[in-house]
């Protein structure tokens, strides 16, 4: 299970970084989105992976997941969502104002 999650995070990060280095705003946006998925998954498993148990503590339960990473992930998701929305608007605005979707403005 750990290996699977680790590979998933790695692939998401690698894809995200690759797209982030592209010269057009749309791939960059997708790259950032993938990177934030990787971050969220990573934060989630920092509380260790607990399989087949209640999501929070229950009476008499020996093994249960750490609730704090879950709270952190929620916050991170909300913030990431807002930031992505802002970037979408900004990228569209840049196309209108600079005449192209190159990250340095214009068509290039």
């Amino acid at each position: 299970m750990e290996a699977l999650v680790a590979i998933a995070i790695g692939v998401l990060t690698a894809t995200g970084v690759y797209l982030l280095l592209r010269a057009r705003t749309y791939p960059v946006l997708l790259g950032l989105t993938l990177l934030s998925y990787a971050v969220n998954l990573f934060l989630f498993v920092t509380g260790r992976i607990v399989v087949a148990s209640a999501p929070l503590t229950d009476q008499g339960l020996e093994v249960y997941p750490d609730p704090i990473p879950q709270a952190l992930v929620l916050t991170a998701i909300v913030i990431g969502f807002g930031m992505t929305a802002l970037l979408v608007v900004l990228a569209l605005r840049a196309i209108r104002d600079t005449g192209g979707d190159h990250v340095d403005g214009g068509q290039r």
């Binding site: 990177l35 934030s36 104002d97």
Partner: protein, 512 residues
């Protein structure tokens, strides 16, 4: 007044929300609300400063949850002085914005308050994750303020800033996650207590988390090679916004100064002094590039932007010494450089407004009306920021040099600091003569806008604060030394936040 600590966060939050609701009210009302809320930060910051100046840490547990579990705000000397600087710069910048920036868009006042909310929160938080949250609050407000007024140049610069900072946020979360995974806590004081207990098996993880975090802070503080975004972005922003942004880079510096001596200080066992090998070399490179950037800038605003990079470099040299003398120099230099950079941005904007033909380009152009007033303002700002006597830049630089004299590699540090200072002096002298002396002809009467008294007053007010740093230099340096002593002794911070009660923590550790 136990709630005093949270007021610098609550006040901008309430004022900003009120301003959003009051969108239909006239500009005058909104401006009055914004100015009143910003002005009120000044006495609040002074009150906090007075309360912490004897060395106490004011700890505020939100909702009454005990520290390692709940969220805490902590005010100590460093936080209080940063709050005071923010309040001063914010007030000057908002008064200046009154004269031209704020009418450019409908939500300037509200955004300004949210920006202050993020900055004040970042200075007060005692928790790594909330540092992230407040960073995001201040960033999202800063994006909007940077875009204020729009135009292709601003949109282009903002796109870079937003993408870079989103990557920075992702790295921040990776770092926070790594540290949490290793230590099981995010409270800074608790982290400081857990760090020495880490075994050699998990120490490399903690070390990589710490260095990732350093990268993020370096991006916020615009340390090279992560700082190339700054000059263009700050040059594209309106004058008042750029002046407020002078505080933003200091948030990155503050975070380094807050986290590394406390959590990864000499007493941190396996991860002790993790940042020591990195900060100083990077700071020296930043310093050199900053000075060259100032020399090579073709517009006044770009030169002001590079000046910020240069002064962050100097500041981080002091921080990078990781010694008590270094911290003291850093505190004094932070105060100087925040005020002087903000003044420089305001002066640049004033000059650009008055030069009808030349704008802020450093080339032969029309002479300015009101050249005497603007020239005087520019002269004082320039000698302050270039570090010439008798103003605070000189004392600050002397402070840094003295702190560096005991460090290994002092010869190199001194050489770089002094040569860079010389380069900056040359650049500033060239800028001044290009603007005020090498002029071609008078401007036809009536084409230049009248000089706004409030704008001049805001700039002069900042310069008066710089003067106060010299006039009351004794008090300022002794405060800086006291702050440095507090930073060099993390035990006081830990004890103030966590108290003497180990029971709670033991319970927590047994859970994991």
């Amino acid at each position: 007044m136990t709630h005093l600590v949270i007021l610098p966060v609550l006040l901008p939050l309430v004022a900003g929300s009120l301003l959003l609701l009051a969108a239909r009210l006239g500009d005058g009302v909104r401006r009055a609300i914004g100015l009143a809320a910003t002005f009120a930060l000044l006495p609040l910051a002074l009150l906090l400063l007075a309360r912490v100046t004897d060395g106490t840490h004011l700890v505020y547990a939100l909702g009454g949850w005990a520290p390692p579990f709940g969220i805490v705000l902590v005010a100590d000397r460093l936080a209080a002085v940063m709050l005071l600087l923010t309040a001063i710069v914010a007030l000057a910048s908002l008064v200046y914005a009154w004269t031209g920036d704020d009418p450019l868009g409908s939500q300037y006042q509200a955004l300004f308050q949210f920006q202050l909310l993020g900055i004040n929160g970042a200075f007060l938080t005692g928790d790594l994750f909330n540092l992230f949250v407040f960073f995001e609050v201040l960033l999202i407000a800063s994006y909007a303020l940077l875009l204020h007024g729009l135009g292709a140049q601003r949109v282009g610069a903002a796109l870079h800033v937003v993408v870079l900072n989103l990557v920075g946020s992702a790295l921040f979360l990776f770092a926070v996650g790594t540290l949490y995974g290793v230590t099981g806590t995010l409270n800074l004081a608790d982290l400081a207590r857990v760090m020495p207990l880490l075994g050699p098996d998990v120490a490399p993880l903690a070390r990589s988390g710490a260095l990732l975090l350093l990268g993020v802070f370096a991006l916020k503080a615009a340390l090279l090679p992560l700082g190339f975004w700054l000059p263009r972005a700050y040059a594209a922003a309106t004058g008042a916004t750029a002046a407020l942004f002078a505080v933003l880079t200091k948030v990155g510096v503050y975070s380094i100064l807050r986290v590394y001596p406390l959590v990864f200080g000499p007493g941190a066992g396996e991860v002790a002094n993790v940042a020591a090998a990195w900060v100083l070399p990077v700071a020296l490179v930043t310093l050199a590039f900053g000075a060259l950037g100032v020399l090579g800038a073709r517009t006044l605003r770009m030169s002001a932007g590079w000046m910020v990079v240069y002064s962050v470099g100097t500041l981080l040299v002091a921080v990078g010494l990781f010694s008590e003398a270094g911290y003291a120099a850093a505190v004094y230099y932070t105060a100087h450089s925040t005020l002087a950079s903000a003044a420089l941005f305001l002066v640049s904007d004033l000059i650009a407004r008055q030069r009808v033909i030349g704008g802020d380009r450093l080339e032969v152009a029309d002479s300015m009306p009101h050249g005497a007033v603007l020239g005087t303002l520019f002269f004082f700002t320039a000698i302050t920021i270039a570090g010439l006597p008798p103003l605070s830049g000189f004392i600050g630089k002397l402070f840094v040099l003295e702190a560096a004299s005991a460090a290994p590699g002092a010869a190199l540090i001194w050489t770089l600091l002094l040569v860079a200072a010389l380069v900056v002096i040359v650049a500033v002298a060239r800028t001044g003569s290009a603007l005020f002396w090498r002029t071609a002809g008078e401007v036809p009467a009536g084409r230049a806008p009248p000089l706004d008294r409030r704008a001049v007053g805001a700039t002069a007010g900042l310069l008066a604060c710089v003067l106060a740093l010299v006039a009351w230099g004794g008090a300022a340096t002794s405060y800086a030394w006291e702050t440095a002593r507090q930073l060099a002794d993390p035990a006081g911070y830990v004890a103030a936040v966590l108290g003497a009660d180990d029971g709670v923590r033991e319970h927590r550790r047994s859970l994991r």
